[in-house]
């Protein structure tokens, strides 16, 4: 597992792990904390095409609804069924067991470094 420093980030509070042509995507601990207890997750279907910056899923807590944005253009090759059936994984381990989707991509978008993201959240 990558450290938080090795991950890349988006301004929508998602993290992205690039391994070869696969991007693993999740939401940050900051986002999970802001949402509160997550009770429902809707993820895109495996095989679907996603476009950078578009809404591809939903993350609901008792209090509010967060949107999952695709951070990258590509095809969904895996969705985390464990997180969909046990949404609390996203609260307990947002950077690990609580990952959401894996996307196969052809072109890397520009993402934020750990330092840039940390500056954004003021943490």
């Amino acid at each position: 597992m990558a450290t938080k420093e090795q991950l890349q980030y988006t301004s929508e509070h998602e993290w992205v792990l690039i391994e070869g042509s696969t991007a693993t995507v999740g939401i940050t601990a900051y986002a999970a904390e802001k949402l509160g207890d997550i009770v429902y997750i809707d993820l895109p279907k495996v095989g679907s095409t996603v476009a950078e910056g578009t809404v591809v899923g939903e993350i609901e807590s008792t209090k509010s609804v967060g949107e999952l944005f695709a951070p990258i253009n590509g095809t969904v090759i895996e969705a985390n069924d464990a997180a969909a059936s046990s949404p609390e994984l996203v609260n307990s381990d947002p950077f690990g067991e609580g990952w959401l989707i894996k996307v196969e991509f052809t072109e890397l978008p520009s993402l934020l470094s750990f330092d840039e993201y940390t500056a954004l959240t003021g943490a």
Binding site: G36, D37, V39, Y40, E60, S61, T62, K63, S64, V65
Partner: protein, 367 residues
């Protein structure tokens, strides 16, 4: 001078920070939204107990020989019929019958009442009471800045309050009653009221004794499973209990009867808003109902309620019920779509979720 753009801090703010609370701006106050998990806090209140800081609530003391007559005139309920030592849920209306706020009135002393209003309505309620007090022998004091309100809610709340304060009348204190208790030589108002659907107590204590009282309750409650609980769990608890929230289910454009609060209005006396109440709602006025759904996707405030292709209502509050495990919502719907059992749809961000109309509340504790 207080900077009005800065949220106010509760006198217990440092305690909440030490407990690791996350905060939210609520009606101009920075209050705890959760300490750890809002679901855990919710379940603790249903099964053990939770302690809430709700100091943002507004307390207005009404004193004088005309206090009861004044409140009968100013509020929708018959306050003069509330015996000493009892509490009453009431409404303050505007002339056309719209709801300015919902309130709890405590008759805690002879010729004295404590009126508790929502934080966001403090100024308008104080002004309305002042305006309506002309000609009555009463004195109004806004005590909001002097009192801290601590709520202990849940089946274990009685044992916790008994272990912390000396309350001579504890054994006979009924639900929606109030009495006095002693803590650190201070006499404080102890009320068996709350906003969670559980048995519970609300304690009105001075700023000076607020932190010691909080810590004493927390220590006494720990063996009972008491946890500090924030506004997120307070909202899901009150929603399950079918209790309205001002700004969501109640507002100036809502008549009490639409909100299912016709019983709160007493038409045997004269009061501000009576003419509007007697005129009644418009024929097409919507009414408040409960909606339940299957699955996990909850309708939220503002989502349309559909019957076929027709929009017949709008959700005012909704969540996946932590206790029940399915989505619940309160909604205003056309009267033709309001009968329990009516099958409707909620438009959840573009997709339809089937919902059934049910009677409120969604959750009722076992007696």
């Amino acid at each position: 001078m207080t900077d009005v753009t800065d949220p106010r801090h509760s006198p217990l703010h440092a305690v909440h920070e030490s407990l690791g609370a996350s905060f939210t701006d609520f009606a101009g106050w920075l209050m705890p939204v959760r300490y750890s998990s809002d679901l855990a806090e919710h379940h603790a209140v249903r099964t053990a107990a939770g302690i809430f800081d709700i100091s943002h609530m507004a307390e207005i003391r009404v004193t004088g020989t005309d206090a009861a007559a004044f409140l009968d005139r100013a509020l929708a309920g018959l306050i003069s019929a509330v015996p000493l030592g009892r509490a009453k849920y009431s409404l303050i209306l505007v002339a056309d019958g719209g709801i300015l706020d919902d309130l709890i009135v405590y008759h805690d002393r002879q010729d004295e009442y404590l009126v508790v209003a929502n934080a966001g309505n403090r100024a308008v309620v104080v002004k309305a009471l002042q305006d309506r007090s002309a000609g009555f022998d009463v004195k109004l004091d806004d005590l909001t800045d002097e009192l801290v309100l601590i709520a202990v809610q849940g089946p274990a709340s009685r044992a916790i309050v008994e272990a912390t304060l000396s309350v001579p009348e504890m054994a006979t204190l009924k639900y929606y009653a109030c009495t006095s208790g002693t803590f650190a030589d201070e006499t404080i108002l102890v009320a068996r009221t709350g906003y969670t659907g559980e048995d519970g107590y609300e304690l009105y204590v001075s700023v000076a004794h607020a932190e010691p009282l909080w810590r004493a309750l927390a220590a006494a409650g720990a063996p009972h499973g008491l946890v500090p609980a924030g506004l997120a769990s307070r909202d899901t608890l009150r929603l399950e209990a079918g209790m309205p929230l001002y700004g969501h289910e109640l507002g100036l454009n809502t008549l009490p009867v639409q909100a299912g609060l016709g019983r709160v209005v007493n038409l045997t006396k004269d009061f501000v808003g009576k003419s509007g109440i007697e005129a009644g709602p418009a024929p097409d006025a919507r009414v408040l109902v409960g909606l339940i759904s299957e699955g996990k996707r909850a309708g939220r405030a503002g989502y349309p309620v559909m019957q076929g292709d027709a929009e017949v209502g709008e959700i005012t509050s909704g969540a996946l019920s932590p206790t029940l495990g399915y989505p619940i919502a309160m909604a205003y719907v056309d009267s033709g779509a309001s009968a329990p059992g009516t099958q409707l749809d909620i438009d959840v961000r573009g997709s339809r979720v089937a919902a059934s109309v049910v009677s409120l509340p969604f959750y009722k504790r076992e007696a």
